[in-house]
């Protein structure tokens, strides 16, 4: 999929006098899920907004391979984003939502890809042509993932994607996330859920008051207990 790393280099972000991020440096690798953890106000969402190029860092820079990421950059099409809100139009059907985004991304002959994507997320049946507002939250989130994957991005950003999902939905999402990692995508997951992070992450970054309190990789799967210990250690030790 991609061999380029996403480098966050000495990134800072201030809002007026409030410092949301301070000299954050992290390296995100392809084929890896990085869980970004931290308490409320730690700067996780700010970091994600900068990674998705919706926000400009006050200091430092982001590079994807050799290219620098800036708002308005064409690299934006390399990003797929799934947030806690689904980001789909309720008055359009699942298929129409994907058709719209396929056109916005300039995907040629997207009809087969849309059908395949709807099938993959379990909306390939009669539901594909129902308005998205008639869907349950879990189904909307499935559609959101389909929207994020349709243009085959190299970078996938998730912001609390399972916050409104039931355990079955959360498990499905975790499996999809692992599948994307195994397909070689670079995956960043912002979450408060340490157990969910332990299920999927190979790399853990803990933010505290806008700074990196811990940056740890593991060749083995983290256990939920490991994750809790790491998190506590990061917050207490910082």
């Amino acid at each position: 999929m991609t061999t380029s790393h996403l480098h966050v280099v000495e990134v800072g972000k201030t809002f007026g006098r409030h410092r949301a991020l301070h000299r954050v440096s992290v390296d995100f690798a392809p084929g890896e899920v990085t869980a970004v953890l931290g308490p409320n106000g730690a700067g996780k969402s700010t970091l994600l907004a900068i990674l998705s190029m919706l926000s400009r860092p006050s200091t430092g820079q982001i590079r994807f391979g050799e290219d620098r990421l800036t708002p308005g950059s064409t690299l934006r099409r390399q990003i797929g984003y799934v947030g806690h809100e689904p980001g789909v139009y309720g008055d359009l059907s699942a298929r129409q939502n994907l058709q719209l985004f396929a056109k916005l991304y300039g995907l040629p002959d997207a009809t087969p890809a849309i059908a395949a994507m709807l099938e993959r997320v379990g909306l390939g049946d009669v539901r594909a042509d129902l308005p998205a507002r008639s869907f349950s939250r879990g189904m909307q989130q499935r559609l959101s993932l389909a929207r994020a994957l349709l243009h085959t991005p190299a970078i996938l950003l998730f912001d609390e994607p399972a916050s409104a999902l039931d355990p079955t939905g959360a498990k499905w999402l975790a499996d999809e996330l692992i599948a994307e990692k195994e397909a070689g995508r670079l995956v960043v997951l912002v979450t408060h859920d340490l157990a969910a992070a332990a299920d999927v992450a190979d790399h853990v970054v803990v933010l505290r008051r806008g700074k990196v309190a811990m940056d740890r990789k593991s060749s083995q799967k983290f256990s939920p207990a490991d994750m809790r210990d790491l998190y506590a250690e990061a917050l207490n030790g910082a």
Partner: protein, 232 residues
């Protein structure tokens, strides 16, 4: 390959109009409110049916009701992007922010213009104005006035996207800005409705004034939309 700027703009406008075509909430709400405003004015003004004064009053009533109800269209077209955070999905897509702005502008202006067509007929009937005397000219003035109003309104509506009291704030912030557009539009419309003055020169002057303000507002909107909508 990203679509052309024009296609991006039309995709955004088409999407908004398609959604409105399904729900028709803006058209119904705005149309009903605007018709009510015109009706109330027609009962309030003693000269409403006066052959000389009625048509001039109609022009003011037409634009006053457009001003009061236009904010419904402005608020709703942007509000739909707040629901489900679709604005983020749009901003993440590789399309130009300028295309999002112009698409929203076209969608809003189209909805307003549709309602204004109904209002023209209603105001013409209630205020004894011959709205068909200079119909193409009148349609051009309506379109230009609506475009100027929407050009400023889309920017303010986007700026207030995450504000809790956006409906109240939108009017308070927008109305002073669009005064030049409304004055020019109502003067041009009054000239076109005036049965005693066949001279269209004043209408031409105000139409040129509208074209100028529209260009200024649209250019300013294109420039301001990105920082405003990003909220950075």
């Amino acid at each position: 390959m990203a679509p052309s700027f024009l296609r991006q703009t039309l995709l955004i406008a088409g999407k908004d109009l398609r959604i409105e075509g399904r729900s028709r909430e803006v058209l119904y709400t705005m149309g009903f409110s605007a018709a009510l405003v015109v009706l109330v004015f027609s009962f309030s003004f003693a000269n409403a049916t006066d052959a000389a004064q009625g048509p001039l009053t109609a022009a003011g009533v037409l634009w006053a009701s457009t001003l009061l109800t236009g904010t419904v269209a402005l608020a709703r077209v942007l509000d739909r992007e707040r629901e489900n955070e679709t604005i983020r999905a749009l901003l993440l897509s590789p399309i130009s922010r300028g295309a999002i702005y112009l698409g929203k502008l076209i969608a809003t202006a189209t909805l307003m213009f549709t309602v204004e067509l109904l209002l023209v007929v209603l105001a013409g009937g209630l205020f004894s104005a011959n709205v068909f005397a200079h119909l193409p000219y009148l349609l051009a003035v309506l379109a230009l006035g609506t475009l100027g109003f929407s050009a400023a309104g889309v920017v303010f509506s986007a700026a207030l996207l995450r504000s809790k009291s956006r409906e109240a704030l939108l009017g308070a912030l927008l109305f002073p800005i669009v005064i030049p557009v409304l004055l020019a539009a109502s003067r041009a419309t009054a000239c076109l409705f005036d049965p005693l003055s066949p001279d269209l020169n004043p209408a031409k002057f105000w139409t040129l004034f509208l074209v100028t303000t529209d260009v200024i507002y649209i250019l300013a909107g294109l420039w301001m939309f990105e920082p405003v909508v990003a909220g950075d």
